[in-house]
């Protein structure tokens, strides 16, 4: 078995299993902690608030956006870029078809995918550099933030190194980091990719009940 076969075979299946079970466990684990039912007389709908808040917090309020526009720019270019290249890069579509879903969808042309990758890289570097330079982010960051950022950066970087799509070793390296990243994911702050729904939703529900969505 070559190294590539290992990281795309057994290692990949172990990683994706840990990822899936871990994410579900943690996500459901949070819900299972439970919360008190609000007994005060409602002034609005909690469930509507749950949904509204999820969408409301995608857009920053103008008064705060003015202060943190660089952050918002970096955040959005990173996340949008990452989603585009994760789901619409030709090699990823092929991989998803072969290893996960069994079906694929039209992929982006190479140049569009590279532009998305550049946006993602620019955003990630910007956010990380800011994490180091900004006294506030420095104060509240812990090792998990840096490990998560660096791992994600390495996954993206090795993916970018393998862009010629002809060198097996580079593809294997990319897959290796993908596997590490997947295993690390459920134990780390990367979980925010899923928990943001709960976080925004619970606040939305609490205040939706009071007739306002913060």
């Amino acid at each position: 078995m070559t190294f590539l076969e290992f990281v795309e075979g057994p290692a990949w299946y172990v990683a994706i299993t840990i990822f899936t079970i871990g994410v579900l466990w943690r996500f459901l684990g949070i819900i299972a902690i439970g919360r008190r039912t609000d007994m005060s007389a409602p002034k609005g709908s909690a469930s509507a608030g749950f949904v509204k808040a999820i969408f409301r917090h995608f857009l920053p309020r103008t008064i705060f956006a003015e202060r943190t526009r660089v952050h918002i720019l970096g955040g959005y270019s990173f996340h949008l870029g990452l989603f585009i290249l994760l789901f619409f890069a030709a090699p990823h579509v092929v991989f998803i078809k072969a290893h996960i879903l069994g079906f694929g969808w039209p992929a982006l042309p190479r140049w569009a995918f590279i532009i998305a990758a550049q946006a993602a890289f620019a955003g990630l570097i910007l956010l990380w550099v800011r994490r180091i330079c900004d006294p506030v982010m420095r104060q509240i960051s812990d090792w998990d933030d840096h490990v998560g950022t660096i791992l994600t950066f390495l996954v993206m970087l090795t993916g970018c190194l393998a862009l010629q799509e002809s060198v097996e070793a580079l593809r294997a390296l990319h897959m290796l980091f993908v596997n590490i990243w997947l295993i690390y994911f459920p134990f780390s702050r990367l979980m925010h990719a899923f928990t943001f729904i709960l976080s925004r939703g619970y606040t939305g529900a609490t205040y939706g009940h009071r007739g306002i969505v913060p």
Binding site: G22, W25, R26, L28, G29, I30, I31, A32, I33, G34, R35, R36, D38, M39, S40, A41, K43, G44, A53, R56, H57, P60, R61, I63, F64, R67, T68, H71, G75, R131, D134, P135, V136, M137, R138, Q139, I140, S141, D142, D145, P186, F187, R189, M191, H192, T195, F196, L198, S199, R200, G201, Y202, T203, G204, T206, Y207, R210, G211, I212, P214
Partner: protein
């Protein structure tokens, strides 16, 4: 480990931790797991903005509770513990160091939630975390004293029923309207904050005028007249419940249909939203905020303004009533009825700055300096409005804090309660 000296300190920290964990509900857990440490909340916090000190980043203030959650309660933490990847045990010393961040530098105003991309309700989590600090008895002395006063006398400022009666009588004389105390079967029960009773008793007269005009059957109780709830501020479930229970018992004893929450921010939150959860059941009566009632009366036409205020004025939004209580439109509609020159400050409405005195900070002398610097943000908002003369706010605590702050700045600006302003314009006398 359990030597004689370290044992009691350890238990204090343990008690705090167990409270932290008890109050870590699904929502809190989701908040802790979703936070990406982006620091946006700092940009919303007047304590950070006025000091530029990163330790006042709102989410940072939750550190002890976050550590307890990550060590003991977070899903998958048992696996992380195997690799030594969970935070250290919390010590009492750490909690003591954190006490100023928890009690002095947070008004529980909730502005940070609006800036948070994850929508984390930091303010309410602070409220929960204070439970742990109460359990470990690491609480600012002033708040402890207020709590003691409230439990013993019914008022954090030790305002006795006799004092209330005296103030009511004085107001009766002033406005010429009789106020019946402890009236059974009245429709509305008015409760007040000590601040109003002692500092702004004219509020009582104003209410009497308004209710007479609108033809409302109301009363004040001599047993449960205090609306404020120090338990909410200090973070003590038991105290908060006891204080809410008093009002509920008296309201149900008198058989009123409504309890009117006065112009006080956290009192509204305590009785309206947290009360039923504290006592574990819903009420036989409805809680209505005075602004809600006034708005209702004016829209129904039962209350008509006969004059308008000509001064340039603005509205300060009390956090617990507006941002976290949902009463955004009501005070504005009322003000537009009564003012010719009503101008909104920057960020008015749910993104308005707190006065800096909420969440027990104004009662906490240790926090005075910090509170004064946080007021800079508020002052800036006032300064940005050209020719501002009057600030209207439907919260007695905000009013005191603003008046103190303005005095500190030698500002000629005046502050007035909303219902008081309305009462002035029920007749044709122009102020």
């Amino acid at each position: 480990m359990s030597t004689k000296t370290s044992a009691p300190t350890q238990t204090a920290a343990d008690q705090a931790v167990s409270k932290f964990l008890e109050y870590t509900h699904a929502s809190t857990a989701a908040y802790f797991d979703a936070c990406v440490h982006c620091g946006e909340c700092a940009e919303a916090c007047h304590f950070y903005l006025s000091t530029k000190n990163p330790i006042y980043t709102p989410i940072y203030k939750l550190q002890p509770m976050l550590k307890a959650y990550k060590r003991h309660k977070a899903p998958l933490s048992s696996i992380k513990r195997l690799f030594g990847l969970v935070p250290e045990q919390i010590t009492k010393q750490e909690l003591e160091e954190w006490s100023p961040l928890v009690y002095d530098s947070c008004n529980m105003c909730g502005r940070c939630t609006l800036a948070c991309p994850m929508g984390i309700d930091i303010a309410f989590t602070i409220r929960k975390m204070r439970e742990g600090f109460v359990a470990a008895d690491i609480v600012p002395g002033d708040l402890r004293q207020s709590e003691k006063n409230a439990l013993e006398t019914g008022s954090p400022m030790r305002v006795q029923a006799k004092a209330l009666q005296a103030q009511v009588r004085a107001q009766e004389k002033d406005c010429g309207i009789a106020i019946e105390l402890d009236k059974k079967g009245a429709d509305y029960l008015v409760i007040l904050s000590s601040m109003e009773i002692m500092g702004y008793p004219e509020v009582i007269g104003s209410l009497a005028k308004i209710f007479k005009e609108a033809g409302i059957d109301w009363t004040i109780s001599t047993k449960a007249y205090e609306a404020t709830n120090v338990g909410i501020q200090i973070g003590s479930w038991d105290t908060a419940r006891t204080l809410v229970q008093r009002v509920v018992d008296e309201a149900e004893h008198l058989g009123v249909k409504y309890v009117i929450s006065p112009e006080c921010g956290h009192a509204y939150s305590a009785l309206r939203w947290q009360g039923p959860n504290l006592i574990g059941r819903s009420y036989d009566f409805e809680v209505i905020h005075i602004i809600e009632l006034l708005h209702q009366l004016t829209t129904e036409g039962r209350l008509q303004m006969k004059s308008k205020n000509g001064r340039r004025l603005t509205l300060h939004d009390p956090c617990q009533i507006v941002r976290r209580g949902g009463l955004v439109k009501e005070p504005r509609a009322l003000l537009n009825d009564v003012a010719d020159h009503f101008e909104e400050m920057q960020g008015a409405g749910i993104t308005n700055f707190c006065c800096g005195g909420g969440g027990g900070v104004s009662a906490n002398s240790r926090a005075a300096k910090l509170q004064a610097s946080a007021f800079e943000c508020k002052m800036q908002q006032f300064n940005d409005i050209d020719g501002l003369e009057l600030i209207v706010t439907p919260c007695a605590n905000c009013r005191t804090v603003l008046e103190d702050g303005l005095e500190e700045h030698d500002s000629p600006l005046e502050v007035i309660g909303l219902s008081e302003l309305l009462a002035q314009h029920l007749d044709h006398r122009q102020t």
